[in-house]
Symmetry: C2
């Protein structure tokens, strides 16, 4: 109890402010501190780290329940965290949470994830940040295991902090979990990605479908750990430099 | 001349298929092989690694010039590379190029960049991939230095290949460059990001503006090297795992 002040926790997501996932994460956040929700006003899946530059943003004050208030933003998850930081919050948060996403953000999904990007944006802005996702896409999925994992990681992060530049990416299956394990991002990709169709005027168009392909047989990858029924926690960094390769390349000038 | 077959080079970008930047990069690409252009049908800056999942994609065949043909896609840069790979190309490319972006993709800009994401998507799909950007936002900027840097990196990559999971991120100032240097991604962020206004009905809205802030005083960062008049080349990875931290954390179980 070194800090008697309740922490302020900013919660965002990419499924939109009315999703079940953000409700579940908000409930957990409220066990730790005061909560403010700033989230997209609609579904924003797969937007990655997109930000809105060509149109202005609006922030609509929303009463989510008797306990929780928030702002619905006509933008991306990264927009929400930026706008909360720069304009909407009088007090800076102690923690940024994003999720609980309805769908896995393990393996290559991390790249496309709006949920992870909201947390990463929090990290860029200097906040301890955690993304939480459920491998189950169903909006009605049982998120209790995800909540347990989130609770554990939030405790750890509030207690010990996070190194500069690091975001915690938490994934868990639906339902109860067997436990929580540290994990690395699995090598993976999507194959057979598009289904080509013809419109009534015989012009082609393409739907993204895509089969997820695991290219990784390590037992320490996030996807392996999830498949075993555990929550997987991966520390991710936004400095994308490949330092090992850079050192090697740097031995020769251009 | 170990391979007498001309390489096939896929060119994309985020400023759209009619930008000057993609024209400049296509000219360079044509010095090395056959070129196919698959790029967004309009400006897609700052979309990050967004992909289109809720609407179908269209691919419109376009004659760019007497020499070059391509497809204009109603999607993001990452969509373009995915669709080219999965549906549009009969022969798989030997190289994926993205750019030349009108605007820097050094430092934290990498996270938001559609240009870099197109190249990263190429890497995910298994292709050697290079992103090229000019620090000058002007569509009429002199891209000859960027072209020189691109030429040099393309030669290197076609000759030696790239390690799995690595994308080359090339930035250069406009006009002639002093040379080319290896670089790491500079620690940086945006501050004072939004300008709040009131609409005619007295309701607030927010424009993203943002001042770029360099937090990095190293002389090996991309931004430092660019400021000195050199092109900066950074090997970036899409595996975001912080392995050093993971090893340390893994010493204790959850």
């Amino acid at each position: 109890m070194s800090n008697p002040k309740k922490p302020l926790i900013l919660v965002s997501n990419d499924d939109g402010i009315y999703s079940n996932g953000i409700k579940a994460l908000t409930e957990v956040a409220a066990e730790f501190g005061d909560v403010i929700i700033v989230a997209p006003d609609r579904q924003q899946s797969a937007v990655g780290h997109a930000i809105t530059i060509e149109t202005p943003l609006r922030a609509q004050k929303i009463k989510i329940s008797d306990e929780f208030q928030g702002f619905a933003i006509n933008g991306t998850p990264a927009d929400c965290v930026k706008l909360a930081h720069d304009q909407l919050l009088d007090i800076k948060p102690d923690l940024v949470l994003s999720g609980i996403n309805h769908g896995s953000n393990a393996g290559i999904n991390i790249l496309y994830s709006g949920t992870v990007s909201a947390a990463t944006e929090g990290t860029v802005l200097g906040y301890s940040s955690i993304a939480v996702s459920c491998t189950d896409y169903d909006n009605e999925a049982d998120l209790t295991g995800c909540q347990d994992a989130a609770r554990r990681v939030i405790t750890l992060v509030l207690d010990k902090g996070l190194p500069k530049g690091v975001t915690m990416n938490v994934n868990a299956p639906s339902g109860p979990i067997k436990g929580i394990k540290w994990a690395r991002m699995a090598d993976s990709r999507y194959v057979e990605e598009y289904e080509g169709r013809k419109d009534p005027f015989n012009r082609p168009y393409y739907w993204l479908t895509g089969k997820f392909e695991l290219l990784d047989d390590g037992n320490d990858s996030d996807i392996h750990i999830l498949n075993e029924g555990y929550a997987a926690v991966t520390p991710i960094q936004y400095d994308l430099t490949d330092y090992d390769l850079l050192r090697k390349l740097g031995e020769e000038d251009f």
